[in-house]
């Protein structure tokens, strides 16, 4: 088992890549073989990640496990260093699960212009980038995986998307690249002021970089600015969010699911894994501003949602708000806040992933994303689909007992009592404003359900005899629906994993 422990993470990360390469050599006509390879590669990655979960030592979630640390680029001391702890484990499992479900969904439902070979290869490539990001402990390795997701997501949107797909895809690519290269400059700035405790050389190792003094306060704050730009655009925080509604809106269904479910979390994860522990003093200086932007995002996202007529854009803007809650949690620099953030990431991943699946299935049936043309009366046309939509929407608005609740309420609770040195009054104001945000969230989500589900269906829709939930949809959605419910009634499933790892981190903030 020792070999397994060393190489299991590499397996999780690179199995999809191997699958993607295999797919490129399968002849175009053999679509069944393409689907089989995609299922085996993503399923294999999921199985290995579940074995990792089973073998994970839950008594020591603070220590890194399943470590692999090999020489990679000797000249700059960058290493192939991967491991997971309580912070990254939930995100890794979320990634492999969502990717597998997306592959399952796509085996039967493939957007125009079809071309399954490229579609599956890109999803698998994306999977490698995403899980690599959550497992890397070396800044250079992290950056390579971070950038690896851009190309496949670009093509997923640009080829299989809808409406202004090329514009949206390009906007997504350029925005994120812009931010991430500044992030790279930040990494380099830390590298050149660092000393590895053992070798004495400069280092890119995230663990070795902790507790180093990189220079003056102004310098550290500047480095933090570079990192902030990279992560904040990815999250996206207000006012860097403008790429998101376009990209989400025009992406194909599984593209939106993975974008909302996982890609956005790379940004918040970057704050927790890199920005906070490596630059704690700068983080404390920046926290009030990050909190302020988060609250703006919550309120702005909710208000935009109230104005949307397009169902996918509405869910996209709701993501801005939900990511705002996660960032508010992070900005408090407390145990509760960071636990809330990680829980919120997982919850948002399953709930919003589910909502985008639904939006895709609705679009596929009605051929429109306009809310007033789909509704009213979807309950009459497709009772099961309508029911699942109502369930997911209510989970998204944060009803107690479902997954969405804990992330938001813990985040607000954390803002009541932020870390030492932060302005308590300010954060309590944030809490109140965030509370207003939850009410608005409930408002637009319920209004969405009302406009879509309730009322009397038009003659046209009744006559069309649209299919209700199909087996493949049920297969892809059931795990998410169970997760939404299970995390709601038993949040400790995630919080127990994260808590000890998080307290290790917040120890830096007193």
């Amino acid at each position: 088992m020792e070999t397994f422990d060393t190489w299991s993470l590499s397996l999780v990360v690179f199995l999809p890549l191997v699958g993607a390469l295999l797919i490129t050599v399968v002849p175009k006509a053999q679509e069944a073989a393409v689907r089989a390879v995609a299922l085996v590669a993503s399923g294999g990655s999921l199985v290995v990640s579940i074995v990792v979960l089973a073998r994970f030592d839950f008594d020591n979630t603070r220590t890194f496990q399943f470590i692999v640390d090999k020489s990679w680029i000797e000249t700059i001391g960058a290493r192939y260093h991967m491991a997971i702890d309580g912070i990254s484990l939930p995100l890794l499992v979320l990634t492999t699960l969502l990717v597998f479900l997306c592959v399952v969904y796509s085996t039967k439902i493939m957007p125009e212009p079809h071309r399954p070979k490229g579609f599956f290869a890109l999803i698998l490539l994306l999977a490698t980038g995403m899980s690599g990001t959550f497992t890397s402990l070396d800044l250079v390795l992290f950056f390579v995986f971070w950038e690896l997701v851009l190309v496949p997501m670009y093509f997923l949107i640009a080829i299989w998307g809808s409406e202004r797909k090329e514009y949206s895809a390009l906007k997504f690519f350029l925005y994120t690249l812009f931010g991430s290269v500044f992030m790279l400059l930040g990494f380099l700035a830390m590298y050149f002021r660092s000393r590895h405790p053992v070798t004495g050389a400069h280092t890119f190792d995230m663990i070795a970089l902790q507790g180093q003094t990189f220079g003056s306060k102004a310098f550290v704050n500047l480095v933090f600015a570079g990192l902030f730009l990279g992560f904040a655009i990815k999250v996206p925080m207000w006012p860097f969010h403008t790429w998101l509604p376009d990209a989400h809106g025009d992406a194909p269904t599984v593209g939106s699911v993975l974008l909302a479910g996982i890609l956005l979390k790379m940004g918040t994860y970057g704050f927790i894994r890199i920005a906070l522990p490596l630059l704690p003093d700068a983080a404390r200086d920046w926290a009030p501003y990050i909190g302020a932007l988060s609250v703006v995002a919550i309120l702005y996202g909710a208000l935009c949602c109230l104005a949307q007529k397009d169902i996918k854009r509405l869910i996209a803007f709701s993501s801005v708000g939900h990511m705002g809650f996660i960032m508010l949690g992070i900005s408090t620099l407390t145990d509760t806040g960071l636990n809330a953030a990680i829980f919120g990431m997982v919850a948002h991943g399953v709930i919003t992933g589910m909502l985008f699946f639904l939006a895709g299935s609705i679009y596929e049936r009605f051929h429109t994303r306009q809310i007033d043309q789909i509704g009213p009366g979807m309950m009459q046309v497709m009772p099961y689909l309508g029911g699942i939509l109502a369930f997911s929407a209510i989970a998204s608005l944060g009803l107690p007992g479902l997954a969405g609740f804990w992330g938001e309420v813990l985040s607000l609770l954390a803002a009541f009592n932020p870390a030492e040195g932060l302005n308590v009054g300010l954060f309590r104001t944030y809490m109140v404003l965030g509370g207003v945000g939850t009410i608005l969230t409930a408002g637009y989500m319920l209004w969405l359900v009302q406009r879509l589900n309730l009322g009397k269906a038009s003659e046209k829709h009744v006559g069309e005899k649209l299919p209700d939930v199909r087996p493949v949809e049920l297969a892809a959605w059931t795990p998410l629906l169970i997760a939404i419910f299970a995390l709601g009634v038993y949040p400790r499933a995630v919080l127990e994993i994260t808590n000890s790892a998080v307290t290790g981190l917040t120890g830096l903030f007193g």
């Binding site: 670009y154 080829i159 895809a169 690249l177 400059l185």
Partner: protein
């Protein structure tokens, strides 16, 4: 005076023999067999490579100190000969299709130019540098005008020639001033002589004049005006050759001049390079966005890339040995990686031009359906030029960023970041056409075997170096000319 070491010059001697052989045998070849010239040229390059292999690890100085074999020289010679092999591969069918009866002259001129490059890598002396630079350029003027009946090709050659001659004259003037001040032509001696007068105005002026000459060679703004027109008018293999080999030769000379000869004057020339680098990358990128011809796009892109290579020169203002070494290594690594990704892109252009000789960007619409492998290769080259990991081009940029950050020149790194984003825009717009747009003609192109081999070679380098950058990065510290 010590005897001349012929072993040190063996690669050059073999290449000279090959180019004379091409010229002679060509006389006896009937038109339909003129293609055989390429074989002789290729054998010459291979022989030269083998000879070069026997020199690995050696340090030699001969021809009264004008000609040096060291890590730096070997590295560049390997690069030039590999590029020569690839250029021959991509020329074979192109020439046979376009200028069938003049192939002998073409390979003769091409090898002459490469001979100049081999000398350039070994030159540590002003006179030698000048001779080498002229030997690189003069055959270039001729091959640029090789499509004799095409007015654009004539324009390409004339423009290239006039700009070339003018800048060489300016450079020579600068060199003569340096000789006047230092009474030396050897770079190390020049450095020693200039050690105590870091900012003598006459020296600074001469450096400026010399840099202008090399600025023409590497197509740095404001000496770049010839490049797009020349590339567009030349036969495409020549454009590939000019934008890769000839440019790398310019940088080889520039690196040894600046980091050896004028190493004590960094305070004077680094700020100038900063302005030049910023202008070069920005103008190159901004103009590239508006091109509709793929060769012109690659021309402006290569101007922008030259800007990135110039950036490490700009950060060494008063820097210590560590930064000096890093900057040097960054420029060197960038040249190596750039050569392969750019020549790969040109090889694809040649493959496409076989059926669609207009070289419009719109010719690439739907290429993925017609030739999936070719489109994928092009996408890789373009993304590598844009600097997306895990492709080689990312590491090229990475080391430049890293040199800039270590020298505390974050502002110029930030300029480069913005430029990278602009660059991505146009590289991606070509890349995505191949996949997003329908092809106007969906018949396969039929890529010829030698071109396919050339593309595969470049692609392997771009991907392998992307995953293990140490392949290339290992070279630079060993080959450094900078003390330490």
């Amino acid at each position: 005076m010590s005897p001349i070491d012929l072993h040190a010059a063996l690669p050059e001697i073999i290449l000279t023999a090959a180019l004379l052989l091409v010229l002679t045998i060509d006389l006896f070849l009937p038109d339909e067999r003129k293609k055989w010239n390429s074989l002789i040229a290729m054998l010459g390059v291979m022989g030269s490579l083998v000879a070069l292999g026997t020199l690995v690890g050696e340090r030699k100085t001969t021809f009264a100190g004008m000609f040096v074999i060291d890590g730096y020289a070997l590295l560049f010679k390997f690069l030039f000969l590999t590029v020569a092999a690839i250029v021959i591969l991509i020329s074979i069918d192109y020439l046979d299709d376009n200028t069938r009866n003049a192939q002998g002259e073409f390979y003769f001129l091409l090898l002459s130019s490469f001979l100049g490059m081999l000398l350039m890598a070994s030159a540590r002396d002003l006179v030698m540098l000048f001779v080498a630079l002229e030997l690189v350029s003069a055959p270039g003027f001729l091959v640029a005008g090789f499509r004799k009946r095409d007015a654009r090709s004539n324009e390409a050659a004339i423009k290239f020639f006039l700009f070339g001659v003018l800048s060489t004259a300016i450079m020579l003037f600068g060199m003569s001033l340096i000789y006047g001040v230092t009474r030396a032509t050897n770079l190390t001696e020049i450095a020693n002589a200039l050690q105590n007068t870091p900012d003598d105005p006459l020296v600074v002026a001469s450096i400026l004049l010399i840099v202008a000459g090399f600025g023409f060679k590497v197509s740095a703004v404001p000496f770049h005006f010839w490049a797009p027109d020349t590339y567009e008018g030349s036969p495409i293999p020549v454009a590939a050759f000019l934008s890769v080999a000839s440019k790398a030769a310019g940088f080889a000379g520039l690196l040894s001049l600046m980091f050896v000869g004028f190493v004590h004057q960094t305070g004077s020339w680094a700020p100038g390079f900063a302005i030049m680098a910023v202008l070069t990358m920005t103008i190159g990128n901004v103009v590239a966005m508006q091109q509709s011809n793929i060769v012109r796009l690659l021309a402006y892109s290569s101007i922008a890339q030259a800007g990135y290579i110039l950036l490490p020169f700009a950060v060494v203002d008063g820097a210590g040995p560590v930064v000096l070494r890093e900057a040097f290594a960054a420029a060197l690594t960038y040249i190596l990686i750039y050569s392969f990704m750019n020549i790969g892109a040109f090889a694809v252009v040649i493959a496409v031009a076989r059926k669609q000789p207009s070289n419009l960007i719109s010719d690439y619409d739907g290429l993925a359906q017609r030739e999936p492998g070719l489109a994928a290769a092009m996408l890789f080259f373009l993304l590598s030029l844009a600097g997306i990991p895990p492709l080689a081009g990312f590491w090229a940029k990475f080391f430049v960023f890293s040199a800039a950050i270590d020298a505390d020149s974050a502002w110029i790194a930030a300029v480069m970041v913005v430029n990278s984003v602009i660059g991505l825009y146009y590289y991606l717009s070509v890349g995505s056409r191949m996949y997003l747009r329908p092809a106007s003609d969906s018949s396969p192109l039929g890529v010829s075997y030698p071109v396919a081999v050339a593309i595969a070679l470049a692609l392997i380098v771009v991907v392998a170096v992307g995953i293990f950058p140490d392949f290339f990065n290992h070279f630079s510290p060993r080959s450094t000319l900078v003390a330490g």
